[in-house]
Amino acid sequence: MFTENRVVAMLRVVLVVLFGILVLFQTMSLPGQFAYMAKESPEDAYLRWPATIVSVFLVLCVEVVVVATWKLLTLVKNDRIFSDSSMAWVNTIVGAIAAAWLVLVGVLLYVGFKANDPGLPLLLFLLVTGVTVLGLLMVVLRALLRRATTLQTELQGVI
């Protein structure tokens, strides 16, 4: 329990930092980056807004995961993680990862058919594979959480 509390506290600090960086990226870095790229290569300028929207959306998905993780950590701290209330936040995480996966696959297909060098598609493919692993892992963890919750509920009926 002692290590648990310390790790939860540390994780929360890191989550706040991560969230801050993500917001910074989302609001300042990414739109500026694509505006700059549009100015540098006018033949690709039509990609400016789609690329901005897609990247901002992907960052939003990560932010949703961060917030849901924060909420789950609160449940861990209150020793209520094996209750039905945790399932909603786990579902939020799975949903956010699924949404990001769909968008990433779309981008991969679009870029893959247009590309004339394999660098970017390969990088995107790596990203899609990583997100796939993460998403499936979350589904497995959700099943385990559900089983543990059922066990906990059953044990509470034992006197």
Binding site: G157, V158, I159
Partner: protein, 68 residues
């Protein structure tokens, strides 16, 4: 509920109050109430042992199977 917990019978025989019973067994009065009205899903052997010790009886005196 085919298994009935007969705590009240044993308590009445010994003229012991529910509060005293709960304290001596180490259960909360709320849990004793759950046992008495048949809402318990299971009883730990350690709880059963403590109840038998306090009431000086056998598990069979506390648990009874009734046909539905």
């Amino acid at each position: 509920m085919p298994i009935v917990v007969r705590i009240d019978v044993e308590l009445a025989k010994r003229k012991m109050s529910v509060g005293e019973f709960a304290e001596r067994v180490g259960l909360t009065p709320a849990n004793v109430a759950v046992l008495k009205n048949g809402r318990a899903k299971a009883v730990r052997f350690s709880t059963l042992e403590a109840m038998c010790q306090v009431l000086d009886c056998q598990p069979g005196d506390l648990l009874e199977w009734v046909e539905e």
